[in-house]
Amino acid sequence: MRPTSVRVLALSLALGLIVSACGGAPTAAPADTPAPDTPTQAPANTEAPASSGEVAKVVIFVGFGTGTDPDQVAAQEALAQRFNESHTDIQMEFLIVPNEEATERYLAMVAGGNAPQLVGPHGTSTIAKFLDQWEDVTPYIQRDNYDLSDFYGPATTINKYPELDAGLPLGLYPSFIFYNKDAFDAAGLEYPPSDYGDTSWNIEKLREVAIQLTLDENDLTPLDAGFDPATIKQWGYADTWTDMRGQMTMFGAPTQGRPTSDDQKMALATSAEWLFGAQWLHDGIFVDHFIPDSAGQSAIDADTGDPFGGGHVAIWYSHTWYMSEGLNELPFKYNIAPLFFNQKGERISRIHADLFTMPKTAANKDAAWEVMKWLVAPEQIVDVCKIYGCLPARKSSQAAYLAYMQERFPGLDYDVIFTAIDYLDSPHHESWVPEWGKVNDALNNAMSTLYTDATADPAVVLDTANQDLQKILDEYWAGQ
């Protein structure tokens, strides 16, 4: 081969690859979301109602949360048809985007001046990530004298910030535990109580029970001689489908799942409650072995992907949204029960709350507001929540929702679900903090250490995370 031609070929390819690497850098990104600082005003872009013949289009962007499964897509199309048949001036259309593409697609639409009229259903984390991008619906509520009294109180406050009411409540997802009755029977254990007043159901009792429910491949528990933690086939307890903030919420820190002070200037990840929680978690994984470590979780993912439904975890702490994902055709009997009391004798049962939001830059906001109202109206809200698996945010819809759930999942203690709302977390574990993504990643790095390193000192892990958080906060405020 001639030297010149080889060099030219290699150089061309090298430059081409380098250029494509740098040229291929992302071209669209949203802003970090500083705290909203504009006072509430009248609706900024209130348009005149569509005149006869004019049809306002309302595109609903679905992808940040639930709503992308095939059966949900079909149900949403039917819902849109129902709306469109009853309205001549507004046409509703669902835009379904896979979750992993949602951020890029949404930003591209906004950047291109083509923001969807509504986004949702999504929860507190999405609202927090794009906090200053949402339209405050307070002026619309005031203009229409919209009655909020039928909504559960928390549903109207979880996604409300001092300067932003992100939207009308659609649904709630209270949390509680799911337990495998067959596993309890096999271990000769009493089921967890469904009575929220039973204080014997506490964190120490949970630990005691969960250890006995943990089994290795020889059906030995951690209390038995010869137990092999490397071959665990059933763990006693898990709360692994949430992040560090979610997992620390139950331990009752003054700011609960939020790792920052009220003025958002001080990192608080080393509170006594978080320290207790981190130590309890780490001991549960590596000393008592009733919580799956990172390798155990990856084995569950590679097997069925469902910790509880796959029979890998006997007590599973999750939300109502899990019911539409993991409770179908289970080969064992199960029920639900309240979350246990924490080490302080408190019960903090975190909650999720979904709604539809209006991007500030969207066109046809008045039409979007009308669609938002329609979606959460008493006539529709149960049907909409059936699609998304949420508990309707309207108290008046409780009976209809209960009947639907009892038919779908007979024999469960449904009082557990409704009463859990009274024990929600505030401040919310997904609520806004400066540099939301960086703060969560720093905390989740700490959680990764807790789940992977048997020799880690949880106090040191949290201290490191807290210093990282403080640096993030300091840099954020220095730039304001």
Binding site: L17, C22, A29, T103, A295, G437, D468
Partner: protein, 323 residues
């Protein structure tokens, strides 16, 4: 009115015009979709930019953030003194991966090519078998290997436990000490591409050289060392350049394998993954663009060094040393 005739174009000129006409579509694509975004990202690297709000010029702030705090870090050893500790962490992870993956990939694909260059029965079938994995896309490969490397139920650890007899095999992607080596193993899956290039190079070596070596009494090892290896250095050089660039662009597999987190304990926080996080998770496009341009400079420098070093170790048939 007199008719004016245009002078016909010469053949060479017509050929040149036809050539330009053929490359125009590519040229337009290159300018619009490569050069344009590159220049845009260069501009954004000097801004505080989120696509929703207009970019705000911040001068060298993004670059200062990357390189500030180095003396303080060197004095204290505390990475928090660095302007952006995660930038350096991601660079460290990428360099560690490159140090392992690059030589192993070069070596492994070369050995395979040498083996598949032998006259053995069914050699074309063997070549196909070893080449096939390299044509499977990155996402599919990552999903496959995540399962293979699963510490509890993955086939690799089952093999290590049941066949090799290792009682406690590595946790691979769940263990911060083994996560990068696991990705290196995963990267070997795609050596078929380099292997084919080596194979073409091996088959291009003149048999006269081997014959002459045999006449001189060279055994198989001598022939490999004195003929095959030197004659393959241009191909090695080519694969080294491409491998270096590819290593610094490593993204898809780790994004899929760790869901974009860089877990466990940021052991897999590759440079491009952190760049992506800045762009699409932290919504800091200005800083992400800065990282892209720093990567450009790093890769360009390394490529230039490889080119510069090639005079010392790349041989071309018929070339006189020192000329």
């Amino acid at each position: 009115m007199a008719t004016r005739f245009r002078k016909p174009l010469s053949l060479a000129r017509r050929e040149a015009l036809a050539g330009y006409a053929f490359i125009v579509p590519w040229l337009i694509g290159f300018l619009v979709f490569t050069v344009g975004p590159m220049l845009a990202s260069l501009y954004y690297s000097f801004t505080d930019f989120n696509i929703i709000d207009p970019p705000r010029w911040v001068g060298l702030d993004n670059y200062i953030r990357v390189f500030s705090g180095i003396p303080e870090y060197l004095m204290t050893g505390d990475p928090r003194q660095l302007g952006d500790p995660l930038f350096w962490k991601s660079l460290q992870v990428t360099l560690y991966f490159a140090a392992l993956a690059l030589p192993l990939n070069l070596l492994f694909s070369f050995i395979l090519a040498v083996l598949l260059n032998q006259k053995v029965p069914g050699v074309n079938i063997w070549r196909t078998i070893f080449f096939l994995p390299s044509i499977i896309a990155g996402v599919a490969v990552a999903l496959l290997w995540v399962r293979i490397l699963n510490p509890k139920i993955g086939i690799l650890n089952v093999f290590l436990q049941d066949v090799v007899g290792i009682a406690r095999p590595p946790g691979w992607l769940q263990d911060p000490n083994w996560a990068v080596p696991a990705l290196v193993i995963m990267s070997l899956w795609g050596v078929g591409g380099s292997m084919i290039i080596y194979l073409a190079g091996l088959q291009g070596i003149s048999t006269e050289l081997y014959d002459a070596a045999k006449v001189d009494g060279a055994n198989a090892w001598h022939r490999f060392w004195a003929v095959t290896l030197p004659m393959m250095t241009p191909v090695l050089f080519y694969n080294l350049v491409l491998g270096t660039i590819g290593t610094f662009q490593y993204f898809t597999e780790v994004y899929v394998a760790t869901s974009g987190t860089g877990d466990p304990q940021r052991a897999t926080l590759f440079y491009n993954l952190y760049l992506y996080q800045n762009a699409f998770r932290y919504f800091d496009m200005g800083y992400a663009s800065t990282m892209a341009w720093i990567l450009f400079v790093i890769v360009l420098t390394l490529t230039a060094l490889i080119f510069r070093s090639s005079d010392a170790w790349v041989f071309y048939e018929g070339q006189l040393r020192g000329k």
